[in-house]
Every structure is written in C-alpha cells, then in structure tokens.
C-alpha cells in the first residue's frame, strides 16, 4: 500500500529497499498466519481423530465393524444400539455408580483437607509450616506407581481390597497435595490487610476462612475441585491393583478389564462404554474450561 501510494510511483528509487521490505513484511505476516493455521488444523485433526474414531465405531453394528472391505472411517448405518446395550448392562451401570460414589467422596474429602491445610499454611505461620509446605509439593511429585505396592499391602491389611472404600482411602494421595498446593497459592495472593480487617471486624479464624477466604478464592476452589474430580475419575493404577471384583470396580478399570472379554470383542459396545465413561470430565471441561486451565497452569505459576 505504501509502495502504491508513493507519489513518484517508483518508491524503490526514492528509498531503496523500503517499499520492498514493507511488502515482504506483509507477506511474511501472512505466511506466518498460514503456517499457524495449517499447523493448528493438522494438530486438531490428529488430536481429535482417536475420540472421533471411537465415536464412529460406537455407532456401527458388529457386522459393520467386522466388515474389512469398507472405509473404517465411515459409518454406513449409524445406530445407537451399542449405547442402548451398554447402558442396559447392569455391570456397566455398576461401574458408573461406583465411580460416582468414589469421586464424590474423594472430592469432598480432598477439598476439606486441602482448604483447611492451605489456610493454615498460607496464613498461620507455625512451627514447621514452611517444611510442611515444601513437603506438600514433594508429595505431589511422588507418582502413584511408586506407592501402589506398599499401599496394596496396607489396604490389604485393613481388609479393604476389593472395595471402593479402599480407593476412597488412597485416592487423596493423588489429589490432596496438588489441591493444597494451588490453594496455598490462591490464599497467599489474598492481601494480608483483608484478614486484618476481618480480625478487627471481629471475625474468628473459622469465620475468616468461611466468610472471607473461601468466597474470595472461589475461582481457586473451583479449579481445585475440577482437578480433584478429573484425577479421581481417571485414576487407573490403584483400582487396577486393588480391585478384582467387577461389582466394586470404577469405570476406568471396569471398562478396560471387564468389557474386553473373549475373542470376539464387541468393539462397538466397548467404544460406547469408553465414551460414556469419558463423558463427565469432558462435560466439566466444556463448561468450565477457564477454571480447568487455571488449575492446570496454577501448579507452576502459583505458590
């Protein structure tokens, strides 16, 4: 544009190179934008293909799944019968029910533990509080696969193998450290004057927590709750190790171990089951994406 608008009509003579460079800047931008969009489109296809393919499979009849002649990425006669079958399966409903009970309990326990602990660690400096805060972070770095064998022994010793209550007992190791850690970050970002004002206004510790800290740090609480929910919904190592009885299994291990039976897999049903099992976290994500992402990034940026 600047080149065309130049009165002499020969910009490169007047200011050598300038017209060309501006033009190339523009094309460089456009080129960068194209690269960006092409990369993103390819990435989106790759990222979404597996769940999409699961969806396609779940809508095929067994005959169509077994038919090798057609394009597997096409559905010729879409059907919901796999969903009907899997929802009609009492075992699958049992998995779902177990997952719900388990997750609700774990989320509740986690939030109570971590909100109280984070409040004390963020605000009431006491002997060893610094060490404990660091300990929380280190615990968060300990993976479940390092602990499941001794926990297997311990849970077994308590007679809680093959029971979702054993899982309710151990799942907090997955959720509490991180939730406490991000809640410490959120609480610490509340200005100190706010609790001093509350103290002068006559609040005791409990009122300060419930009337000031929890409402003010609500986004953090939501993010931590989402985290606890997704982690306990997706947990796989502990239930795989501790549960062998189908009626006590939560969804993850239930779908993976129980729906795969015999030589002829009911692929359609299996995929339908997996998708239904994946639905709750996906729904939470769809509606609370910003909180979800805030929780994800909080670990490294807060605290």
């Amino acid at each position: 544009m600047s080149a065309a608008a130049h009165p002499s009509g020969r910009p490169s003579d007047a200011v050598p190179g300038l017209g060309r460079r501006i033009g190339s800047l523009r094309s460089e931008r456009r080129w960068a934008l194209w690269t960006a969009y092409i990369s993103l489109i390819i990435a989106a296809i790759v990222m979404l293909a597996p769940p999409l393919y699961m969806l396609l499979t779940s809508m095929k009849t067994s005959a169509e799944v077994a038919d090798l002649s057609g394009n597997p990425w096409m559905v010729h006669a879409p059907t919901w019968e796999n969903y009907a079958a899997i929802i009609g399966n009492p075992m699958f409903r049992g998995f779902f029910y177990n997952s719900i009970i388990l997750t609700v309990c774990v989320v509740a326990i986690t939030m109570v533990i971590s909100v109280f602990a984070a409040f004390a660690l963020a605000r009431m400096k006491f002997f060893g509080s610094q060490v404990l805060a660091t300990g929380v972070f280190l615990t968060y770095l300990v993976p479940d696969t390092l602990l499941f064998i001794p926990l297997y022994q311990i849970v077994g010793g308590l007679g809680l193998l093959n029971s979702i209550w054993g899982l309710v007992l151990v799942y907090p190791t997955l959720t509490v450290p991180f939730c406490t850690w991000i809640m410490i970050g959120y609480f610490a970002s509340i200005p100190k004057e706010l609790d001093e004002a509350a103290l002068i206004d006559g609040a005791n510790w409990m009122q300060m927590l419930t009337k000031i800290f929890i409402p003010v740090a609500l986004p953090g609480i939501i993010a931590a709750t989402i985290f606890a929910f997704t982690v306990s919904w997706a947990a796989f190592v502990y239930p795989t190790a501790f549960i062998t009885r189908p009626d006590e299994m939560p969804l993850t291990i239930g779908v993976v171990s129980q729906l795969i039976r015999g030589d002829t897999f009911a692929w359609g049903q299996l995929m339908a089951g997996a998708l239904i099992a994946a639905l709750p976290p996906v729904i939470v994500y769809a509606f609370l994406m910003d909180y979800y992402i805030a929780g994800l990034t909080a670990g490294a940026t807060k605290g």
Partner: protein, 314 residues
C-alpha cells in the same frame, strides 16, 4: 509460632507484676493449636499414605517372596542380573526421554502457533487441542488400541490409501515402542501447549516491540526474548513431565500390556506384573523403588525451579 511465644517469654516480667503474659502465651499456643488441627488431616495423608508406605516399600523390598525372611538387597541383585529387567530400565528411559522431548517440541510449536493467530479464535483452538488431556488416558488408549488393531487398523487403512504398506503397530517390538510413544505424546502434548501458552502470554508485548525496533527478526525475538523469559517454566514442565512419563502405567497397560515379549515393559507395568500379578510383592516393590533415585533428582530440580520462579514473581 515458636517465635511468638519466645517474644512473649522475652517480654514476661515476674508473674505477679504482669499476669497477662501467660494469657498472651495461651493465646499464641491456641493459635498454633488451631493451625495444627487444621493441617492434621493433611499431615495424616502425607504421613500415613505417602511417607509411611514409601518407607514400608523399602522394608518390603528386602524380604523374600513369602515375606518371611529378611534377605537384604538380594531382590535388587536378582533384578539387575535379569535380562528382562535390564530391558525394562532401558525401555523406561528411552520411552520417557523420547516422549517428553517430543511432547515439549510439539507443545511448544502448537503454543507458538496458537499465540500468533488472532485472540478471538484462540479459545476455540485451545479448546479442541486440549481434548486428549481431558479424556481419562486409560479410556482414550482403548481407542488407540482399536486403531492399532492388527486386522482392523484404521490407521493402516489411511497409510494404505496413500500407498504405503501396513504397519505391524503392536506386534513388532520397535513399532510397539513407537506406538506407546505416539499415544503418550498425543495425550501429553496439549498439557505442554497450555503451559507454554500461559508463559507466552505473560511476556509483555512491549518487549517484542522494543526488540523489533532494535532490529531483531522474529527468530531473534524467539531466541533472545521468548526462550529466556520462558526458560524456567519450560524446565519445570519438562522435569515434571519426566516424572509422570517415567512412572506411566495406564498407556502401556492398555496398549501393549508389556508385550511383545516384555519388550515394552516400563518400571510401573513391570512392578505390577511382578508384584501384583505374579504375587512377588517384595520384588515388585524393589522394581518400583528403582524409580526413586531418578525421581528424587528430578524433584530436586523442579523444586529449585519453582522456588526460583516464586522469587521472581514476588
């Protein structure tokens, strides 16, 4: 709190002259009691379900199979002598390092691309690209397993369509290893993308503008501004992901279950195999303990990174 009560002690005069000082001390003690009670559940979780089991694992790993006799480091000895376990070590390291590098590169690339498109569209793309991270990995891996299925592979269908021969995804050791890495990268790259995107957004635009006026090209801007500013978060994310990837279980369990011929076993799946499935709990504990030194080293660096970052942000 100790310091508060010290201060009260310092200030204390003879009790008769100033009876209030004991009230102060009581108040201070009460505050630390409340704080202690509030953290007690946390302490019990950490102590009872992490620290104690970790110590117990060390003890367990030194027992014989029936847990009747103390055999010292024999389990570790036997493991190190076994061909299978040495391949487990190799495979774990290969898997973790390759997968994390790929995740970091893909994540960085995507974050960068996302950062460059107009803000209006970013939300939608970010929403789509994060989907793999949201689905429980055990379930999405089931989908991948089905896509890798030897006779029905939909991926092979696409490969054949562009004229290449079918790939024996899970049947052949090297392809099986690659498959596991592909699924892990697919699952984990979005997380890197989100972290990097957040870091990219925290670099003020003025810095780029200043650099552009100073004559920096886009590439130099990346090299001299973006990367140094993100260095800390990049290393935290990489180290953190190394831990998680190193200790990964679900993808291996669902996709290959260690096969073919135990060649895709990693520490976690092998510990499961030995400890839970074959019932040799002490040796399983020993397998998983092999992860510990490496994790400790990584954890040390993560903690250092986080502390540094906290200081920078303060």
């Amino acid at each position: 709190m100790a310091s508060d009560s010290n201060a009260a002690v310092l200030a204390a005069r003879p009790a008769a002259a100033r009876p209030a000082s004991s009230a102060m001390k009581r108040f201070a003690r009460r505050r630390s009691t409340i704080a202690f009670l509030m953290t007690l559940p946390l302490i019990s979780v950490i102590g009872g379900l992490v620290v104690w089991p970790a110590g117990y694992a060390i003890y367990l790993s030194m027992l014989n199979r029936r847990q009747t006799a103390f055999i010292g480091l024999e389990n570790f000895d036997i493991l190190l002598d076994s061909e299978t376990f040495r391949s487990v070590i190799w495979q774990s390291c290969f898997f973790a390092i390759t997968a994390v590098l790929l995740k970091a590169l893909v994540g960085f690339w995507l974050a960068h691309m996302l950062h460059h498109i107009p803000t209006k569209g970013q939300r939608m793309w970010r929403g789509m690209l994060l989907v793999p991270w949201v689905i429980p990995p055990a379930l999405s891996t089931l989908g991948w397993w089905w896509m890798f299925d030897p006779s029905y592979s939909s991926i092979n269908y696409l490969i054949n369509a562009i004229g290449f021969p079918s790939v024996p995804w899970l049947g052949e050791p090297w392809w099986a290893r690659i498959s596991v890495i592909i699924v892990n990268v697919w699952y984990g790259a979005p997380f890197f993308m989100i972290m990097y995107l957040a870091a990219l957004k925290s670099v003020p635009d003025q810095l780029y503008e200043a650099a552009a006026i100073d004559g920096a090209t886009g590439w130099q801007g990346l090299r001299h501004i973006t990367l140094p500013m993100m260095q800390n978060i990049i290393s935290i994310t990489v180290l953190f992901s190394l831990i998680v990837t190193f200790a990964n279980y679900d993808i291996v369990r669902v996709l290959t279950n260690g096969g073919p011929r135990d060649l895709t076993q990693v520490f976690a799946s092998y510990a499961f195999q030995v400890g839970v499935l074959s019932g040799n709990i002490p040796r399983g504990a020993a397998v998983s303990l092999f992860m510990f030194p490496l994790l400790a080293v990584i954890a040390y660096f993560v903690l250092r990174g986080v502390n540094k970052r906290t200081k920078e942000m303060a």
